[in-house]
């Protein structure tokens, strides 16, 4: 097994561990906001790890740049989407409070 293969294996194992923990956390989380926190772990850690592993596997090529760009897009869009979803949750909560007879 060569050095790049070892790096790929380590990165994918790390990604699998984080992914399993995050999915388990999402399944046991009670609120949507808790699920969003675990979702952030997937977008901010798992996606870049898989992308870096694929880039190492590809070597210095245009494909490696493409897969790194994909990982970057997922990592950057994750917090933006989490914030947008959390804002909708907050607006729904406020709307329910305003409609309350109390």
């Amino acid at each position: 097994m060569t050095v790049p293969d070892t790096i790929v294996l380590v990165l994918l194992c790390l990604a699998a561990v984080v992914f399993t923990i995050a999915i388990g956390g999402m399944l046991v989380a009670r609120t949507v906001l808790d699920r969003l926190h675990f979702m952030a772990a997937i977008t901010s850690a798992v996606a870049p790890l898989v992308a870096i592993a694929a880039a190492v596997h590809e070597g210095v090529t245009l494909s490696a740049a493409m897969v790194l760009a994909t990982g970057l897009i997922v990592a950057l869009s994750g917090p933006v989407l989490a914030m947008a979803v959390a804002r909708v949750i907050e607006q729904e909560h406020n709307a329910d409070t305003e409609r309350s007879p109390e």
Binding site: V8, L9, L12, A15, A16, F19, T20, I23, M26, L27, V32, R35, L36, M39, I42, T43, V46, A47, V50, A51, A54, H57, E58, T61, S63, M66, V67, A69, T70, I73, V74, S77, G78, V80, L81, A84, V85, R87, V88, I89, Q91, E92, N94, A95
Partner: protein, 92 residues
């Protein structure tokens, strides 16, 4: 190659299975989180499959999907916002 096949299988079974659970129950926002998870997992699965079959040309598909999935989720957050035209119509 085998490690990429295993990665794709794990991502598909665990990730898409959980995403299917999330999008099939709960409120609209809870389902939206499931949709977001499905988009991210689909991107990762496509990367793993592309590496497994040894066709780097296929990597353009997850690149496009990453952009479209994020944009689609943002559109859904706009439509699900209280006060949006569709939300008011559903509330009546």
């Amino acid at each position: 190659m085998i490690v990429w096949i295993v990665a794709a299988a794990v991502l598909m079974v665990v990730g898409l299975g959980a995403a299917l659970v999330f999008v099939s129950r709960g409120s609209s926002v809870e389902r939206l989180v499931g949709l977001q998870l499905a988009g991210v997992v689909a991107v990762l699965v496509l990367i793993a499959v592309s590496e497994a079959v040894g066709q780097p040309v296929y990597l353009i598909v997850p690149l496009v999907l990453a952009v479209l999935a994020a944009t689609g989720t943002l559109v859904f957050t706009r439509l699900l916002r209280p006060g949006a035209p569709d939300a008011e119509r559903d509330g009546q």
